[in-house]
Amino acid sequence: MVRLLVQKFVRESQFLFLALASLLVLFCASRVWIAGQFDLSSFKPLLEQLRRFERFMPVPLDHVLTYSGSIALTLSEPLLIFSILTWCIARGSDVISGEIGRGSLEMLLANPISRTKIVLTHYILSAVGLGLLCLTIWTTIHIALKYCSVRETVSNTATFTLPFVPVQVPIQLGEPEEVLTPLASRVDSSIFVVPCINLFAFGFFVLSLAVGVSCVDRYRWRCIGVTLAIYVLQLLIFLLSKVGTSWRGLEWATVLSLYQPDLTALVTQRIEGSQWTVVASEAMQDSVWRFTLGPIGMTGILTILGLTVVTSAIAYLNRRDLPAPL
C-alpha cells in the first residue's frame, strides 16, 4: 500500500523536483562562480553607502565583502527561498485539498487506507524531497568551491631582517603578479552544512504549514493563498523587528528569526564548533551571535513547530467530514 502511495507521489512530483533541483544547481554554481570573479574589496565604497541599512542585513556588511560571507548570502537569496517555498507549498498543499480538487480522494479512500497514512506518506516524502534539494544546494556549493578559482594579485616581494635590529625590510623583486587560487582554499564548504540544515528546517516548517492548511481546507488555491499570506505576514514582522531597538521584541513573533544561515556561517568561521550548539555560548554572544538559542536549537524549534502543526492537522482531519469532490 505504502509502496503504491510512494510511486504515486514520485509520479506526481518528479518534474517539479527535477526543475527546482536544476534551477538550484545552476543558481548556486553561478553564485559561487560570480563571487570568485570580482575583487570584493572594490565594492566597499558601494556598500558603505548602504551602511544605514546594515541593521536589515543578517550579518555585518564587512562580512559580505569576504568570500565566505558573499557565498553564505546565497542561502538568503530570493530565488533560492522562492524555490524552496515552491516545493514546500506546492507539495504540501496537494496532500488533501489537491486530491479533493482533482476529485481523486474518494477513489483513493475507497481503499482500506487511513487518512493519517495518506498524509504522513505524502508529508514524509515531501520532506525527503526538501532534504534532497538542500543537499543539492550544499553539494553544488561544495563542488563549485572546488572548481572555481579566485584571481588574486600577489606582490613579488621578499624581506630580510636587519642584523641586531628586529626590523624586517621588504624588497621589491618585480612587478606584482596575478595568480589563480582555488576558492576552496579561501572558503571551507563545511561552514555551510548547518546553514543548509537550517534551510531544511525552515522549509520543513513551511511544508508543515501547507500540509496543515491542506488538511483543513477543501480548496487548494485557498490553501496556497493562506500559507503564502502567513509567510508574508511573518516576513513583515521580521522586517519590522529590524527597524529599531524598540521593535526588537517582534523577533519572538516570527519564525523567520529562526532562519539564520548567514550568521551561522559567520559564527562558525569565527568560533569553531559553534554551529552545532543548541544554546548559544557566551563566546558566541560576545561575537556576532545575538540569540539565546544556537543554530541547532533554532533548527530544532522550527522542526518541532512544523511537527506540532501537522500533528494537530491530522487529528482534525481524522474527525472532519470529507467534502464531496468539487
Binding site: L4, K8, G103, M107, L109, A324
Partner: protein, 344 residues
C-alpha cells in the same frame, strides 16, 4: 447477517439536514436500489457508510462493522464507485487499473482488465485524454473487477451510452448472481428495475418507503376518468384483490406521469390528465370483471414498476423539485422499458 444496517441515522451540515432518521436493512446477497431525486441524501448515506462523513446521530453497520470505528475494516470488504469518479489524469488507464487493483485487498487486476475489455475501453490511453464516459468505464472496471463481498455503486451508469449502460447493468447483475451484495444508487428507474431485487426511496433525507420489486409485479395502476361519483369505487367483500392506493380527482394527481417530452424538458399534456388513480394488488383475472362494471372512461392499466412506486410516494407537483428521470426523458435506452401500458 445484514450487509448494511442503519438505525436512525442522521446527518446535518449546519442547518442542512441531509439524512433524517434513516433506518435501512440490506440483506447479504441482495441487490438493493437507492432511489431518490437529486439532493435526497443518497450519496450522503453512502459516504456515511464508508466513513467519509460522520453521522450526527444514529448508528450504521456495514458487514457487521461500525462505520465510525471500523471504517478501515469496512473498506477492506467493500468496493465503492463514487458518484463522480475521477482518476489521476497523468496516468494511463492500464496503470490506473493496476494501481487500484494492487491497492485493494480484494482487487483483481485480470478481472478489471477483462471488465475494461467488455466495456470496450482502450486502457492504453492516458486518463487526461479520455472522455467523461471513458473515465466512468475505467472507474467501473476497477470497481466491478473487485472480488469484494459488497459493491456500492453511486450512479454507475452516469455518462454512458445505451450499449455500455446495458453491459454495465449486466455486469452488476452477474456480480450479484456470483454472490456479491450490491447497493446501487440511481435516479434512473430502469437501472434499479433491471438490477435490483429491493428498492428504498429517499426523499429529503428520509427513507420514505422500502419495497421488494417482486411484490411490485402483482400490482397494477389503473388510471381512468370517472363518469359517476368516486364513492362508487368499492371493493366487494369477497374480492381476491385489494386497492392499496386510491387518489381522488384533483390537480395534484392529474399529472402523475408526464406524457410527452421535448428534448429533456417535461411538458404536460392536458389530455393525459386523468381523474382517478388506483393501485390494485392481485391478479387481473380477479379484479378486471369488477373494474369493467364501474362507470369509468379512458381506462389505462399499467403494470406497477419502480416509476409507479416512485410516483406513489411523490410529493405534489407544486413543490416537487428535480424528480428522478422517467423513461424517455434524456436517456434513450429507457425506451427499452418492458412495462408498456395496456389499454382496456
Amino acid at each position: 447477517m445484514l450487509a448494511v444496517e442503519t438505525i436512525g441515522l442522521c446527518k446535518s451540515f449546519g442547518d442542512v439536514h441531509s439524512l433524517r432518521d434513516c433506518s435501512l436493512s440490506v440483506p447479504t446477497g441482495a441487490a438493493f436500489g437507492l432511489l431518490g431525486p437529486n439532493g435526497a441524501g443518497k450519496s450522503t448515506l453512502i459516504r456515511t457508510l464508508l466513513g467519509f462523513v460522520r453521522p450526527t446521530r444514529g448508528a450504521a453497520h456495514v458487514l457487521g462493522k461500525d462505520v465510525v470505528r471500523e471504517s478501515l475494516a469496512i473498506r477492506e470488504r467493500v468496493s465503492y464507485l463514487p458518484g463522480d469518479a475521477r482518476l489521476y489524469r497523468s496516468m494511463r488507464g492500464s496503470s490506473v487499473i493496476d494501481m487500484f487493483a494492487q491497492m485493494h485487498p480484494r482487487g483483481d487486476r485480470q478481472s478489471s482488465r477483462s471488465v475494461a475489455d467488455r466495456l470496450g475501453l482502450e486502457v492504453r490511453r492516458r486518463v487526461a485524454f479520455m472522455s467523461t464516459g471513458m473515465r466512468q468505464k475505467l472507474a467501473l472496471s476497477i470497481i466491478l473487477g473487485s472480488r469484494a463481498p459488497l459493491l456500492i455503486l453511486d450512479e454507475p451508469t452516469a455518462n454512458l451510452d445505451p450499449d455500455v449502460r446495458n453491459e454495465v447493468l449486466a455486469l452488476v447483475r452477474e456480480a450479484n448472481q456470483s454472490g456479491q451484495t450490491v447497493l446501487l444508487s440511481s435516479h434512473l428507474f430502469t437501472d434499479i428495475e433491471r438490477t435490483c431485487s429491493e428498492v428504498a426511496l429517499l426523499r429529503d433525507g428520509r427513507i420514505v418507503a422500502t419495497e421488494l420489486l417482486s411484490e411490485r409485479e402483482s400490482r397494477h395502476i389503473v388510471t381512468a376518468t370517472t363518469t359517476g361519483g368516486t364513492d362508487q369505487i368499492r371493493i366487494p367483500d369477497e374480492a381476491n384483490f385489494d386497492i392499496v392506493r386510491k387518489e381522488q380527482p384533483s390537480a395534484r394527481i392529474a399529472q402523475g406521469k408526464p406524457a410527452s417530452h421535448e428534448g429533456s424538458e417535461y411538458t404536460e399534456n392536458p389530455e393525459s390528465n386523468h381523474n382517478l388513480v388506483l393501485e390494485i394488488v392481485g391478479s387481473p383475472n380477479d379484479w378486471m370483471p369488477w373494474l369493467s362494471k364501474l362507470n369509468l372512461d379512458n381506462i389505462t392499466i399499467t403494470m406497477a414498476n419502480v416509476e409507479t412506486f416512485y410516483d406513489s410516494f411523490s410529493r405534489p407537483k407544486a413543490d416537487a423539485t428535480d424528480p428522478p428521470m422517467t423513461e424517455g426523458t434524456s436517456d434513450p435506452s429507457s425506451t427499452l422499458d418492458p412495462s408498456k401500458p395496456e389499454t382496456a
